[in-house]
């Protein structure tokens, strides 16, 4: 019998608003565990070309052969045999919210997605378990040749384009979890923006896990052609369960000369989700790639969005927020690899820990020989809210070129009693005062978000703070 929302949420993390789940009434659900048979079955179920089937099976071999990473967080408790690797909730993808089953539609309504689509989005993809159940792009963008599809449809309808880039930015054997994704991927977004086309409003993808012990492995490929622009935003939530779920995505991005791509994540998984994601972009001549990566949820996150600056004059930015509360370990950061001359990068990280949580910055700055005249600045600031919480910084720097301009700054601060008292003396509760200090701390990043998301970020920070004090 399904528990009520209060029963599921109660006692685990009262401030998490999205911990509810729907009853399962699925078109197809795989058994637990991982095997070559399952991987072949997923490929067959999706009616994929032979090369993709082989790619998946080879990826599984890589996954099985690789040991678990020993750095980062504690991965030893993941039970790969108990996970459901593929669930298809509905037979067909809907183009109207009304065509979805009532429970699923209701979930999207509670998450506010249809309303957001009406007000400020150029297109929406909504993934529920393994499949994108709703997808829509504004017609004027379609007419300009913009492609915004779920990855499975992208493979079916634009096989040549997919084949050219899929697994090329992040090879299938890049790391254990990229190999896992490559074997069992399903859903995610496929985006192509033609030369010179600027998509003014964001495209949004929303990822929802519903089933217990679910493994979600979406796969995203974004190609921004010359002088084009796109802003892609992803959000994610899951129910609260007493056992763990796994989310392991792979995101590959190509920004061609003069193009610009901004990729914004607001990660708000429930505290029973392992979030192990590989994200990498390549930026060519005078292209700009920006990762805005906000992490508030999950049990363990390991994620370091990367930018390879491949062409002269390319610019990359990573803005990273990690907010670790009770029973959370967020190991986040960013990577910038300067391959071409006169490239520039900025990595700004803000981490907050409270209630015994652990937030780490882990980043890489690499300048290859020949990338002369490159500039990079890394700033990581940590805010620790109480004595039980922890913050670590692991900055890796490799410079093989002498004519470069590199800066690195790190600060650690604690929220001050005097600061809290000052704010409380103006009528704010302790939680409100703490939330205000935290919001101010991350403001250099939230000011980069579209207004609606900045408001959402500050609301999530307030929710994180409530119940943490007193």
């Amino acid at each position: 019998m399904a528990l009520t929302e209060t029963e599921v949420v109660g006692g685990i993390k009262t401030e998490y608003k999205y911990g509810f789940h729907d009853p399962e009434d699925y078109f197809f659900k795989s058994g637990r565990g991982l095997s070559h048979e399952l991987v072949a079955a997923i490929s067959e179920h999706k009616n994929e070309p032979e090369w993709m089937r082989k790619f998946r099976l080879k990826s599984l071999d890589y996954f099985l052969a690789r040991p678990l990473p020993e750095w980062g967080g504690n991965l030893g408790e993941i039970d790969f045999d108990s996970i459901f690797y593929y669930i298809r909730p509905t037979e067909k993808q809907a183009e109207s919210w009304e065509d979805l089953p009532a429970d699923i539609k209701n979930t999207w309504d509670r998450l506010g997605i249809p309303e957001a689509e009406k007000n400020y989005l150029a297109g929406v993809g909504a993934q529920y378990e393994s499949e994108v159940v709703y997808h829509k792009l504004k017609e004027d963008l379609e007419a300009q040749g913009v492609l915004f599809l779920d990855m499975d449809s992208g493979l079916r309808e634009h096989e040549d384009l997919v084949k050219e880039y899929f697994g090329k930015i992040i090879p299938q054997n890049d790391n254990k979890f990229a190999a896992l994704n490559s074997a069992v991927w399903s859903g995610g977004s496929f985006i192509y923006v033609p030369p010179g086309v600027k998509v003014e409003m964001p495209l949004q993808a929303y990822f929802r896990i519903n089933a217990e012990n679910m493994g979600q492995f979406e796969r995203t490929l974004i190609i921004v052609d010359e002088d084009a622009y796109v802003h892609y935003v992803e959000g994610c939530t899951a129910p609260v369960y007493s056992t763990d779920s796994l989310h392991s995505a792979v995101v590959e991005i190509i920004v061609k000369p003069g193009g610009r791509c901004r990729y914004t994540t607001i990660q708000n998984w429930s505290n029973n989700v392992y979030n192990l994601v590989t994200k990498r972009a390549v930026a060519y001549e005078n292209a700009t790639m920006e990762w805005v990566d906000a992490n508030l949820g999950s049990k363990l996150t390991m994620k370091y969005p990367a930018i390879w600056l491949m062409g002269e004059g390319a610019h990359g930015e990573v803005l990273s927020i990690a907010f670790a509360g009770q029973d959370q370990h967020l190991d986040a950061g960013g990577k910038a690899v300067h391959v071409a001359p006169n490239t520039s990068s900025i990595i700004t990280s803000k981490s907050i820990s409270r209630g015994g949580g652990r937030a780490s910055y882990r980043g890489l700055l690499e300048v290859a020989k020949g990338a002369e005249g490159s500039k990079s600045k890394v700033v990581c600031d940590a805010l620790i809210l109480d004595e039980e919480s922890r913050s670590d910084t692991y900055p890796y720097i490799r410079i093989d070129e002498s004519n470069v301009d590199i800066g690195h700054e790190a600060t650690v601060s604690k929220i001050g009693d005097e600061q809290l008292f000052y704010l409380m003396s103006r009528g704010l509760s302790e939680a409100e005062a703490s939330a205000m200090v935290v919001s101010g701390f991350v403001e250099p990043i939230t000011k980069e978000l579209p207004l609606e998301y900045a408001v959402e970020m500050n609301r999530l920070i307030q929710l994180q703070m409530e119940g943490s004090v007193g």
Partner: protein, 260 residues
């Protein structure tokens, strides 16, 4: 009845050192009181203790606000009742603009006054009130979009304290050495802020070392505060006497070994 009433109030630091050693004081509506004393007399400690600073413990006596016991209340509850402290050293909150902070604080106070129901001030009304108050206090408009007290000059900080007082409309305002380090123009602005606040339902307690501010805002009562106690009380003329003679006449005879 007095709005703020202190009866034999004692305050100690966390290490047990007694700073305030039995104070009786009553501030009624429409009244401006000046608490004057030399450096280190415990004036600021009294102000912090009144506002509920966790490092200052009330160890004896009573502190009543409109008849309600303040001692068990948090600083936020005291503010919601209508107590305000203008800080001698206001704290910076990087990343939070003066405007955003002001609106959050105002809404917290309004919520408490509406019995716990959200009662947010409409944005156009807030904007209008805030700009009017800033103009009145000669605060440049651009300050509203700067981060609260972050990189502010001493004078800017003090003006913004008075701006907060004007916007939050407390019933009792305590000003902790708000006059120190201000030029004459800023001093007049602070004095104006106090005079405009005090009315039939509100009172003020000005804590100061110098008589200077009292040239611009005449107190109804003056209390001389030395070594944790009120040692002399009178009308405005007492402030002038202090200005002429200093605090020496009120200082205790140094007795070796009298303090632990």
């Amino acid at each position: 009845m007095a709005l703020l009433e202190l009866k034999d109030l004692h305050v100690s630091l966390e290490d047990g050192t007694e700073i305030v050693k039995g104070v009786d004081l009553a501030v009624g509506p429409g009244e401006i009181h000046a608490l004057m004393g030399p450096n280190g007399s415990g004036k600021s400690s009294l102000a912090y203790a009144l506002m509920g600073h966790p490092a200052y413990e009330i160890t004896g006596g009573e502190a009543l606000f409109d008849g309600q016991d303040l001692i068990e209340m948090g600083a936020d509850e005291r503010a919601q009742l209508g107590l305000f402290l203008a800080f001698q050293y206001p704290h910076a909150v990087p990343g939070v603009t003066v405007a955003s902070f002001m609106r959050t604080a105002l809404n917290a106070i309004r919520k408490a006054r509406a019995g716990g129901e959200d009662d947010p001030v409409p944005v156009p009304e807030f904007r209008k009130d805030m700009l009017a108050a800033m103009e009145h206090l000669k605060i440049p408009r651009e300050l509203a979009q700067r981060y609260l007290n972050d990189g502010f000059s001493g004078g800017e900080k003090k003006r913004v304290e008075i701006l907060q007082m004007a916007m939050l409309k407390p019933r009792i305002a305590v000003l902790d050495e708000t006059d120190s380090g201000l030029d004459i123009d800023a001093l007049k602005i602070v004095a104006t802020g106090v005079k405009e606040l005090v009315g039939s339902e509100t009172g003020a307690l000005i804590i100061t070392h110098y008589q200077r501010i009292l040239n611009y805002v005449e107190p109804d009562f003056v209390h001389v505060f030395v070594d944790g106690r009120i040692v002399e009380e009178g009308g405005p003329e007492l402030a002038h006497k202090l200005e002429a003679d200093g605090y020496e006449a009120f200082m205790p005879e140094p007795v070796v070994g009298s303090e632990a």
